[in-house]
Amino acid sequence: MNELIIGGRTFHSRLFVGTGKFSSNELMSRAIKASGTEMVTIAMKRIDMENPQDDMLVHIRRPEIQLLPNTSGVRDADEAVLAAQLAREAFGTNFIKLEIHPDPKYLLPDPVETLHATERLVKMGFVVLPYIQADPVLCKRLEEAGAATVMPLAAPIGTNKGLVTRELLGIIIEQSNVPVVVDAGLGAPSHAAEAMEMGADAVLVNTAIAVAGDPVRMAAAFAQAVVAGREAYEAGLGAQAQCAEASSPLTSFLD
């Protein structure tokens, strides 16, 4: 499998995982391990920054894992920049997953504030991974602003509905010069595999693992699906059948 490089760091696993919604930190820790992931996102708002022994952090920190603090909870670019600065201080990393969703119901990202915040954070030296709508034009604008990846959603966050935005994701993958990480809405390993077969560079999964009957086994299942999907993409998928036709009405003028 080809390597994935983001912000100068090489990732061997193309499965990124989130840390919300687990029934215990201990279970979360085992699921992260089973997933084989090297990028784990964590909400700034969940961390007790006064306490270096914060229980959640203790369960995540491993040398092979890149922490990806996210700005979940912020409502505009100003708040996002502040959250990113706090994250850099707290975790000693320039990586930031930009999540700006002023809408508390569907948690849909605000494209205008996200673009503004990306422009500012890139200038401040952050490695910015913005969570966004599956909007191809927005993706190009973010790329031009210096985003390290784009993270379009497959379906509204937490819905487990799979690749609802399939057509748009296809366009984004075709056009992008930065890695495309499909984020949000992937509910089953088959969804992740499908995104990878389309040529996504990575996927981010949280809810589908956290709320599974057995999160640890589900994490491993996602890991396999992501590898299978990527391998299939790199191997070159076979064609769908074309119907043969004996006559040649369109090209007979060339005879």
Binding site: K140, G170, E174, Q175, S176, N177, G236, G238, A239, Q240, A241, Q242, A244, E245, S247, S248, P249, L250, T251, F253, L254
Partner: protein
């Protein structure tokens, strides 16, 4: 810059890969919604010759989805044949003993009026030889100002310029730039373009990046069929198109593949492309890139143009004169290439309509510039 990307592709290796494509590769490419460059190679390979009919069907479908049943019309206006290059295949070669003409502002305006008499053309292609001293950017800019009142869409086909120069011309009403790389074979490029600015492969091939950086609205590309192995050359052009789309995503693109005929002049083409092959190439480009404008000039004969109009082509010229002042000023001077379609614009329009297609004269308004 594209020259760095191009270095990753070895000419011989690419040619070999195309030759080795099998029917299974062609079928895989035809079954895909988004094609890779490897798929494109399969579609222009000898193996795809047996798939001409399904390729035509697919090409027609994609073209109609994106463009409807329409053909956009344009007309070239040559304003000078003065040229400092000595391209071995070109009538404007500086060693050719022909009268050199640089049209005056009054003559350019007379040509504009003459073209408007020919038909309701709104898309004008201004063409010059390459003479930076006597017909440089100032001259081109002046020509654009003269033509602007007569046409809504102005495209130039001139020497490659610097990015600031493209930006300057865009401010002067320029809508598009056409530039033919002629061949992407870097090793042999100089054989055909031994002197003048055109002998600089990199300056020319990176000109498209400069157009993109300057925000040119539409970029036209082209390979001259007859110099090098055409399958390899058009594959490099497909790579170039793919690269440009990724980097300059607000720009529209067109492709051209003029083919040289053995009968044309003193230069004998190294490769001769058949009608079947030209059709195959057209279909391959459309299946590879659903949105690209595929243009056919009057180099091609009426019968071929009438058919290809419904199978993948999206723009055509008509009534063209390929010599400076050819419409009214110097109606008898030497052509850059031989025209094979002598029909009037009205006849071309009638033929296209007979195929069930609409002719579009105007699809831009200068108010948007």
């Amino acid at each position: 810059m594209f020259s760095e990307e191009l270095e990753k592709y070895d000419w011989e290796e690419t040619s070999r890969k195309i030759r080795e494509k099998r029917p299974a590769d062609v079928e895989r490419a035809l079954g895909r919604e988004r094609l890779t460059l490897d798929d494109f190679m399969a579609l222009v390979s000898p193996a795809a010759a047996a798939y001409l009919e399904p390729m035509a069907r697919l090409s027609r479908r994609y073209t109609q989805e994106r463009f409807g049943k329409t053909i956009s019309m344009y007309i070239p206006m040559y304003i000078t044949n003065s040229c400092t290059n000595s391209c071995v295949y070109c009538g404007f070669n500086r060693h050719n003993a022909i009268p050199r003409v640089i049209l005056t502002p009054e003559q350019i305006e007379a040509e504009c009026r003459a073209i408007r008499q020919l038909g309701p053309f709104e898309n004008l292609l201004l063409v010059t030889g390459e003479n930076p001293r006597d017909a440089g950017v100032d001259y081109i800019e002046q020509a654009l100002h003269i033509c602007r009142p007569y046409f809504n869409n102005l495209t130039i086909e001139v020497m490659p310029l610097a990015s600031e120069e493209y930006a300057r011309l865009t401010r002067s009403g320029l809508n598009g730039v056409v530039c033919f790389q002629e061949t992407y074979n870097r090793a042999n490029y100089k054989r055909y373009h031994p002197a003048g600015m055109k002998s600089r492969f990199e300056w020319r091939v990176n000109g498209f990046d400069r157009m993109g950086q300057a925000g040119v609205h539409k970029i036209g590309m082209g390979v001259l069929i007859g110099l090098e192995e055409w399958r390899t050359d058009v594959t490099m052009m497909a790579l170039h198109l793919q690269y440009l789309r990724k980097h300059y995503w607000k720009t529209r693109y067109s492709v051209n593949f003029p083919r040289m005929r053995p009968s044309e002049g003193h230069f004998q083409p190294n490769v001769v492309m058949s009608d079947r092959e030209l059709a195959q190439l057209t279909f391959a480009f459309r299946i590879f890139d659903h949105d690209v404008d595929i243009s056919f000039s009057t180099r091609e004969n009426p019968r071929f143009r009438n058919h290809i109009a419904t199978l993948g082509a999206t723009s055509m010229s008509a009534g063209s004169k390929t010599d400076p002042g050819g419409y009214v000023t110097y109606p008898q001077s030497l052509e850059q290439f031989t025209v094979s379609d002598e029909r009037t614009p009205a006849e071309v329009e009638a033929d296209i309509r007979r195929e069930g297609y609409e002719v579009v004269w105007k699809d831009w308004d200068k108010i948007f510039d």
